[in-house]
Amino acid sequence: MDDQSGVGRDLTLAAACVAAVFLFALLSPAFGTAGNAATVLRNGYELWLIALGMTLLMAMGAIDVSVGAVMGVTAILTGQALLADLPLGVVMLVGPAAGAMLGLCAGAVVVWGRIPAIVATLGLFGVFRMLIFLVLGGQWLSGLPADLTRVVDWRAAGVPAGLLIVALAYGAAWVFLRRTTYGPHLLAIGFDEDRARLMGLAVTRVRLATFAASGALCGLAGVFYIAIYRNVSMTIGADIALEAVAAVILGGTPIFGGRISLVGTVLGVLLLRILQNGLLLIGVPSLWQTVVTGALLLGVLSAEVVLRRARTGAA
């Protein structure tokens, strides 16, 4: 039953993406071009990576609202590694490594402190934001070399390397979820943490590892951020936590955990970015983006509840 409704949901989301594409293509001549399609995909890189980590966390019944600040800190570190002329391989590892450390910090506070993830990560959001302020000191980090940009935009048979890296990350997550015990354990914890512990699962280890993995993905998103925008401002990542949560929920991974849909998250991110790009091209100011995302999140959640009630009421 879960699988059925999951597939149905993915199809609905895919249909929504197609419908949005047609609608915007009708309304704006600039939307339906190959160049714009590439832009939409390229704008999705960071969000796809961060939403992947968020999907794992939410499947486990956790959440991390500090992801934007983690991306900010790691982007700054990556930028400075780039300026310090370190070898490119090292530069690309700095972000994920630092991100994993910060994720592990959040995980340690949540797991060992036994406090709700939302409140703990809200506090850490403040702390990480301070790190960004301290490093940047009110300035912008800008004028970065284009080395990373060339890596991300390098094309293998027409497919940009950035998209390949994102696909690899999702592929790796899929293998871990389906081919190792990590997947069942993650879902068991999300379904009922106490029962998972009684069953003898290594709950603490799985939870810490998931927080660290999400942090590493935020770090990778930081690398992409530097590659694509080549500057960092003080407000980096302010809204990306909302976008990630919205994409995950759109994709059908529930807030309570216990179920996961990677395909759903991929499509959720795609739909968000199509909407944002399309609305911008038909002349809606970019300030409305958060409003649209927030309304979409609440609308989908409400519609889900209403539909579920209608279904159980009819049965």
Partner: protein
């Protein structure tokens, strides 16, 4: 003795922090402890105390209750109030419009939580972005000037060293709500449903109605905060509520409210809100870079959570 200390660890910590802060200031920067500082602390604490009281009651009532949208509500009700004036409403309607907007926004949260059964953290995370996004989008990011003179006169007036808004709004609200908690059955219901919701429902308490009212109350207090920001600053700033949710949540937890509900009171919450503002003001006056403030408050939130958890655990 040891047991009593452990049960009251958070209030003890709050007292220690107050003594430590005042003691340090008296020893090193005695000039800060002046009536002028008192005025400025109370002025800054006015909006935060209102938001923290609303958030405090929502958290005490349990059910994973939290209101992350308070900051957005403050900004949006201030902006909507001024837009109402711009649309031709007479000036004396301003407080009512702000209050009314706050109530509506709070009711919106409450309905999503109680009628649709969506987790409060996800509802208010969505409305946090929705409300603050709307405040920014409606104003285009700029401030709206033109607050009536009588309001500004009231907002900046003082009675001795005490700012008028603090005396005429915060103190009455505090007395009223404390009375509600201590003397009426509503107060006992709030604590009871936070302590054990199932038992409260079985005993026939109107849990959902009380919870709906508390979200509306939190919105109303935030709406009043929005009006006070207008009267104080003389214009509606769409970003006035930024970070208020973080500070209010810190004040609530530092004030001894258990994040799981059922424990805590408003005396602690308001005293912690004053501490947070005092700390911020002291850092500002000593000349420590403002970037430390968000971090210090975030760290304080995490520490308060950990201490809270430690004092709750029986083992």
């Amino acid at each position: 003795m040891n047991h009593a200390l452990r049960r009251n660890l958070v209030p003890v910590m709050l007292c220690v922090l107050w003594v430590a802060l005042l003691g340090t200031l008296a020893a090193t920067h005695a000039w800060i402890l002046s009536p002028r500082t008192l005025t400025s602390v109370l002025q800054f604490a006015t909006i935060l105390s209102l938001a923290a009281m609303g958030m405090g009651l929502v958290v005490i009532a349990g059910g994973a209750g939290i209101d992350l949208s308070v900051g957005g509500t403050i900004s949006l009700s201030a902006v909507l109030g001024m837009m109402g004036l711009g649309a031709g409403l007479p000036g004396y309607w301003l407080p009512m419009v702000c209050l009314g907007c706050g109530v509506m926004l709070g009711l919106f949260n409450g309905l999503l939580v109680t009628r649709l059964g969506i987790l409060p953290l996800i509802v208010t995370l969505g409305t946090f972005y929705l409300f603050s996004g709307l405040a920014l989008a409606l104003t285009g990011g700029g401030a709206i000037a033109g607050v009536p003179d009588w309001a500004v006169g009231w907002g900046r007036a003082r009675w001795g060293a005490l700012p008028m808004p603090f005396i005429t709004v915060v103190l009455p609200a505090f007395v009223l709500l404390s009375g509600l908690m201590a003397l009426t059955s509503w107060g006992r219901w709030i604590v009871a449903m936070g302590d054990n919701e199932r038992a409260a429902r079985l005993a026939g308490l109107p849990v959902d109605r009380v919870r709906l009212m508390l979200y509306a109350l939190s919105g109303a207090l935030a709406g009043l905060g929005g009006f006070i920001s207008l009267a104080w600053l003389g214009s509606a700033r769409p970003n006035i509520g930024v970070n208020v949710e973080l500070e209010a949540l810190t004040a609530v937890l530092l004030g001894g409210v258990a994040i799981t509900g059922g424990r805590g009171g408003l005396v602690g919450v308001v005293s912690a809100a004053l501490l947070v503002v005092m700390l911020r003001t002291a850092l500002l006056q000593i000349g420590i870079n403002t970037v430390w403030q968000t971090g210090a408050i975030g760290a304080l939130l995490v520490v308060a959570l950990l201490v809270n958890r430690f004092s709750n655990s029986r083992g």
